[in-house]
């Protein structure tokens, strides 16, 4: 793991954001946490395509807003601050999310200001 500051570690543990140098599947993120999509890679091509069509594309900023009341499933995720999508955890895990502003990650797609709220 790359070095990260104590503050970032704390943020990561609290689940507020994805810490620098870490990646995690979107299904593991807690409500309120934000991050940038690094990869969309369903084992299933159909799922990958469906996710891409709903806007889950590499480089997009996402924020997990809500979990369902039963077994914390499904998730409500906001994409690029404009569209909110509900999806089940198993599909959400096909989306790999990294920290929002990690310069080491080549996104090459967006340069939107997408600060955590």
């Amino acid at each position: 793991m790359n070095a990260f500051t104590a503050q970032e570690r704390r943020a990561f543990e609290l689940g507020c954001t994805v810490g620098l140098g870490f990646t995690q599947p979107m299904g593991q993120m807690r409500p309120g946490s934000v991050g940038r999509i690094l990869a969309v890679s369903g084992s299933d091509r159909d799922i990958e395509q469906a996710l891409l069509e709903m806007g889950f594309v590499e480089g997009a900023c996402i924020e997990v807003l809500h979990h369902g009341w039963l077994r914390r499933d499904p998730l409500a995720v906001r994409i690029n601050q404009t569209m909110t999508v509900a999806l089940r955890r198993c599909e959400a895990n096909a989306v790999i999310v990294g920290p929002l502003l990690d310069p080491a990650i080549p996104t090459g797609l967006v340069e939107l200001e997408c600060a955590p709220s």
Binding site: V40, R45, I47, E48, Q49, A50, L51, L52, E53, M54, G55, V57, E58, G59, A60, L65, H66, H67, G68, W69, L70, R71, D73, P74, A76, I79, N80, Q81, T82, M83, T84, V85, A86, L87, R88, E91, L109, V110, E111, L112
Partner: protein, 634 residues
């Protein structure tokens, strides 16, 4: 006059299609463009609605507008989206290629919505981009350089405010411009060489959207907080389900109490019409057909119209405001345990009033397998037509003794009947998912749109559509089934000096008596067997039929009261319980079967439903009867 010829020419050829992602305000735009002058039909083979209407452009052209089902991509994931793809590509058998496509996008969500436009652009058809909900985008401080956007995309761009008539002028003007240039593309019939975009192609489209928006968006504005704040409450892990529950309670209350008065009016109207016919027509077969067949049968179904209207009013309001997707979100985990989709929740709920609107409401479920499972279990929800039968039998056989506090045994039995239906439905759904309707679990990928006030015009037009569908069905298939049933219970007429009631000698009586040996193991006597035959039309008709079999007369209330006493005298407790168990499952409703046939477009599924429900009813009744006998209920 030149205008006249122009119009005729326009009618002959000009056709535009509205294409856009769900929640882009496409339907509102369609309603405004056509001013509510629209036709709803069905595409053959699938239950996808075909909505079309006429508009007049400033040049005086009359243009047919086609409202295609909302779709995020041309790669169709549901039958609805397949229609959109096929029409846009000119592959659809009933539709010729539209002269122009208007791509409707939500101006507040261009980031996600512009990709569909990029998929449409390579098709080479005349294309207009309509930035809808521009007023909302401007309120958020969003500024878009329309010229830059049009230049980068290479197609005309107009802004629209679909809620206002004046908000669509720019679009109408642009349609005229396209129609003037039309001649060149007229020869094209279909578009060849289209391929489903690969994942990498979709990624490339996203990158292109980013590039275009960087050029065209001057100011992004501040995203609205309203929907987020509301969702914080409505999707809250504790408050969310409670609010949903409260809303459902209100809905039920409305369906049962508000509808009571209009239902009485309809009932009164039908009865007085029957009395009028009784008084003014001579005793004849025609009179019997009209009074006992048509009026009694159709009246028994049309009485549910107020309930259906109120139910759909609620459903349309919830849909239009954006809450429906939240309800699906809250229920998805619970429903997916039985292999159902969160969206199946509302259709199943509707089925407590009547399975027919419930089955109609399954159209909201995109995936065909999910939808079919929902349709097949909808009749297991205890509909209001079962109530008269339940009430009659419970009053006759279950003593009204208190069990605990103010909860009585009768109420408990009633609750048990409802619960049995629900549990049965969930078990059946799970079994169907593992056997007949096997198939990959469909991912739930559902946009949670921003909340907005429901648009009254949208809601009223939607309501009117449902009424038309329901009335058309009553006028055709239900009417003919009622006539057949009347024929079976009337002919042949009883011989002279007959001792038994007339129905005993009819075909229905013969069928009933023929069924008696089959029904004896579950404790049904020949009277019940006969009453079950006309009871096929609608469940509550069985009560009237039992009255006929036991030769009771008088008005409805008196018959029910007398019947209760007669049944308590003639039947064993085991028989009554067995009949109750039978009624939880038995598919005794031709209207439901007709609805299933219409919505699945095949008699095969209607037959399948009939057979599986019959089998369940028989098994349930058999065990209830045997266990009750063993416990001394004989």
């Amino acid at each position: 006059m030149t205008v006249g010829t122009l119009t005729v020419e326009g009618l002959k050829s000009a056709r535009i299609a509205l294409v856009g992602p769900p929640n882009s305000g496409k339907t509102t735009l369609f309603n405004t463009l056509t001013g509510g002058r629209q036709k709803t039909a069905n595409y053959p083979g699938v239950t996808v609605e075909r909505k079309s209407g006429l508009l007049r452009t400033p040049d005086g052209h009359s243009v047919e507008v086609l409202d295609l089902p909302g779709s995020y991509s041309l790669r169709a994931r549901s039958p609805d989206e397949a229609i959109t793809r096929d029409v846009v590509l000119g592959r659809h058998q009933q539709e010729t290629l539209p002269d122009a496509i208007v791509c409707v996008t939500d101006a507040t969500n261009l980031n996600q919505h512009l990709r569909l436009l990029l998929e449409l652009r390579p098709l080479g058809r005349p294309l207009i981009l309509a930035l809808n909900m521009m007023d909302i985008a401007q309120k958020r401080g969003c500024r878009i350089d329309l010229e830059a956007l049009s230049r980068e995309l290479g197609i005309p761009v107009v802004t629209t405010v679909a809620m206002q008539k004046s908000g669509v002028q720019a679009l109408l003007g642009q349609i005229d411009v396209l129609l003037r240039q039309r001649s060149a593309s007229d020869a094209v019939r279909t578009i060849d060489g289209w391929q489903e975009p690969s994942p990498d192609a979709i990624r490339a489209y996203h990158r292109e959207v980013e590039r275009v928006l960087r050029q065209a968006v001057v100011d992004e504005g501040i995203p609205a907080r309203f929907t987020r704040q509301v969702d914080r409450v409505l999707l809250h892990p504790v408050a969310g389900p409670l609010i949903l529950l409260a809303l459902l309670f209100l809905m039920f209350q409305a369906v049962f109490s508000w509808a009571a008065t209009p239902m009485e009016w309809i009932d009164g109207g039908v009865v007085s019409l029957q009395q009028w016919l009784n008084a003014h027509m001579e005793e004849s077969l025609l009179k019997s057909l009209l009074v006992d067949g048509v009026m009694a049968g159709v009246g028994g179904v049309i009485i549910f119209l107020p309930q259906i209207l109120i139910l759909f009013l609620f459903i349309l309001l919830l849909e239009d405001s954006g809450y429906m997707t939240r309800a699906a979100f809250l229920m998805d985990r619970l429903m997916s345990a039985a292999g159902l989709n969160g969206r199946a929740f509302i259709p199943l709920l509707s089925s407590f009033a009547c399975a027919v609107p419930g089955i109609m409401a399954t159209r909201a479920i995109a995936h065909p397998l999910d939808r079919l499972v929902t349709i097949l279990i909808a009749p297991l929800m205890t509909c209001s037509a079962r109530l008269p039968v339940y009430v009659l039998l419970i009053a006759a056989f279950i003593p009204n003794i208190p069990v605990w506090a103010s909860i009585g045994l009768q109420g408990l039995v009633m609750f048990g009947l409802y619960a049995t239906g629900i549990v049965g439905a969930l078990v059946v759904a799970a079994v169907l998912r593992l056997t007949v309707l096997k198939g990959g679990r469909q991912p739930l990928l559902m946009e949670l749109p921003s909340y907005k006030w429901p648009n009254p015009a949208n809601v009223l037009l939607g309501l009117w559509d449902r009424v038309k569908i329901f009335m058309r069905r009553i006028g055709t298939i239900i009417l003919s089934l009622m006539v057949i049933l009347w024929f079976l219970s009337t002919f042949p007429t009883p011989p002279a000096g007959a001792v038994e009631p007339a129905i005993y000698y009819s075909f229905a009586g013969m069928i009933g008596r023929g069924l008696e040996p089959l029904l004896a193991p579950i404790g049904f006597n020949w009277q019940i067997a006969i009453a079950l035959v006309p009871g096929l039309a609608a469940r509550e008709v069985a009560v009237a039929a039992l009255g006929t079999v036991y030769a009771l007369s008088g008005d409805e209330g008196a018959v029910t009261e007398a019947l209760s006493a007669t049944l308590a005298q003639h039947w064993s407790l085991a028989t009554a319980l067995s009949l109750l168990a039978w009624y939880v499952f038995a598919p005794q409703c031709l209207a439901t079967l007709a609805a299933v046939r219409r919505e699945t477009n095949s008699w095969r599924w209607a037959a399948f439903m009939f057979v599986y429900l019959m089998a369940l009813a028989y098994i349930a009744a058999f065990f209830t009867y045997r266990i009750a006998l063993a416990l001394g209920g004989g």
